[in-house]
C-alpha cells in the first residue's frame, strides 16, 4: 500500500509517500530524520511500517524545511536511509 501523507494547498503539493510493500520495518529512516517526523505504526492490515506522525501531516512543508535548502539540496536523509526505496517526497 502506498500511503501519501501531507496536503495540497494554495502553495503546492506537499506529500511524503511511503510504500508499505517495500518497507521492511528496519527503522533506519526513523533515526535519520532530524525533525523526528517519522514513526513505526501497525497499519490496518497488521503490517508494521514507517509512517509520518500525525502532528506533522498538516505542516510537513515546514517540518521538512531544514533538509530542503533552496540551493544545492543534499540527498534527503530519510530517502537515503531507506535501502528498499520506500520513501519519496513530492516536492
Amino acid at each position: 500500500m502506498k500511503a501519501n501523507y501531507g496536503y495540497h494547498d494554495g502553495s503546492g503539493d506537499f506529500f511524503i509517500t511511503i510504500d508499505s510493500n517495500l518497507c521492511t520495518g528496519c527503522v533506519e529512516c526513523i533515526s535519520s530524520c532530524p525533525a523526528d517526523v517519522l514513526e513505526m505504526i501497525t497499519d490496518d492490515y497488521d503490517d508494521v511500517v514507517a509512517a509520518v506522525k500525525d502532528e506533522h501531516r498538516k505542516k510537513i512543508k515546514y517540518s521538512c524545511a531544514e533538509c530542503k535548502p533552496v540551493d544545492e539540496q543534499p540527498p534527503l536523509p530519510c530517502v537515503a536511509a531507506c535501502e528498499p526505496g520506500a520513501i519519496t517526497h513530492s516536492w
Binding site: 500500500m1 502506498k2 500511503a3 501519501n4 496536503y7 495540497h8 494547498d9 494554495g10 503539493d13 506529500f15 490496518d44 492490515y45 501531516r57 498538516k58 513530492s90
Partner: protein, 291 residues
C-alpha cells in the same frame, strides 16, 4: 426563526426483509466523522440497518446516538451485537467499539460492497476532508491520499455556500445546472476566499444559480488535482455527502472524462459499512460467532 439552509436531513433505515433473530453474525460499524456520524448494522454479511446524523461536540455521545438510532424499532440491543468497529475522526472515542480502524481502510471495504469488486478508485468527499483511495478487487487499499488541511472541496465548504446563497443544501446540485451559460469557476480554492469572491459576484448582479455553478466547478477542479496525483484507474466511484450533489459530480466526471458508478446504497454510509464488514470478519476470526 432564521432558516438554516446548510442543515441537511438526518435519517435512519432498516431492511424489512431481514429478521435479525435468525442471524448468527451481527456486527456494527460506527463512523464518527467531523460533520456527520453513521452507524451500520450487518447481519450475516447483509446490510440490515443504518443511521446518519450530525456529529455533536461530544464524540462518544455521537457514536452512541448514531447506534441507538440505527437500532430503533428493531428490537435489537447492543448485547446482540458480537463485534463493533469504530472509524472516522472520532474512532478512538467510540465507547462500545472492540477495535478502531482508519476510515481509509473502511471506505475501501465499504465501497467494494456498495459498488462491487470492479471499483478501483474511490473518491471520498467528506465533511471536512477529501480522500482518494485505490483498492484491489477485495477492497484492500493499494494507495491513498488524504487532504485534511483545507475545507475546499468538502461538505463544509458546500454548507457555507448554502448559507450564503440561502438555498437548501439538497437543492444546490440541480440548481447549479439552471444557468444560461456555464460560468468560469471561482478562482479561489480556499472556502473563505471563495465566499468573498461569491459575495462580489452577487453584488455585480450574478444570478444565484450562476454563483452555485461557479463554485461547484471550482470544487470539482480542485478535487481533480488531488485525484491526478494518485491517478484514476476505472471503475471510479464517489462516496461521502458530496456524492449526492450532482452539480459537483457531473462536472468532476466531465473534467476527468469518465463515468462514476451508480451507488446501490446511501453514499454517506460507506465508512461505517466498511467498519461493519471488517467487524464481520473479525468476529469470526476471534471466535465470537456461535457455530
Amino acid at each position: 426563526m432564521t432558516t438554516e439552509y446548510w442543515r441537511w436531513k438526518e435519517y435512519n433505515w432498516k431492511n424489512p426483509d431481514i429478521d435479525w433473530k435468525d442471524a448468527k453474525n451481527i456486527t456494527v460499524g460506527v463512523d464518527v466523522g467531523s460533520v456527520s456520524s453513521q452507524a451500520v448494522i450487518m447481519t450475516d454479511g447483509e446490510l440490515y440497518a443504518y443511521s446518519n446524523m450530525r456529529t455533536g461536540s461530544d464524540s462518544p455521545e455521537s457514536a452512541e446516538n448514531a447506534l441507538d438510532w440505527a437500532l430503533k424499532d428493531t428490537g435489537m440491543t447492543l448485547d446482540n451485537i458480537l463485534y463493533a468497529v469504530g472509524t472516522g475522526y472520532g474512532r478512538v472515542n467510540v465507547p462500545f467499539a472492540d477495535r478502531a480502524i482508519t476510515e481509509i481502510a473502511c471506505h475501501g471495504r465499504g465501497a467494494n460492497f456498495m459498488y462491487g469488486p470492479t471499483v478501483r478508485t474511490i473518491l471520498d468527499m467528506g465533511g471536512q476532508d477529501c480522500k482518494v483511495i485505490q483498492v484491489d478487487e477485495k477492497g484492500k487499499v493499494q494507495e491513498f491520499l488524504m487532504n485534511d488541511k483545507c475545507a475546499a472541496g468538502t461538505g463544509r465548504g458546500m454548507e457555507v455556500f448554502a448559507d450564503l446563497l440561502e438555498i437548501p443544501i439538497e437543492d444546490i446540485g440541480e440548481l447549479s445546472f439552471q444557468v444560461d451559460e456555464e460560468p468560469e469557476p471561482v478562482s479561489s480554492t480556499c472556502v473563505i476566499f471563495a465566499k468573498t469572491e461569491a459575495t462580489g459576484l452577487l453584488r455585480q448582479g450574478w444570478p444565484k444559480n450562476d454563483v452555485l455553478a461557479a463554485y461547484c466547478s471550482a470544487m470539482a477542479l480542485r478535487v481533480v488535482a488531488l485525484i491526478e496525483r494518485v491517478g484514476v484507474e476505472e471503475d471510479f466511484a464517489i462516496t461521502g455527502g458530496i456524492a449526492k450533489n450532482a452539480g459537483v459530480v457531473k462536472r468532476l466526471t466531465g473534467y476527468l472524462n469518465l463515468e462514476a458508478l451508480q451507488p446501490k446504497h446511501d453514499t454517506q454510509i460507506a465508512g461505517a459499512l466498511g467498519g461493519a464488514l471488517f467487524a464481520q470478519t473479525l468476529a469470526v476470526k476471534e471466535g465470537k460467532v456461535p457455530s
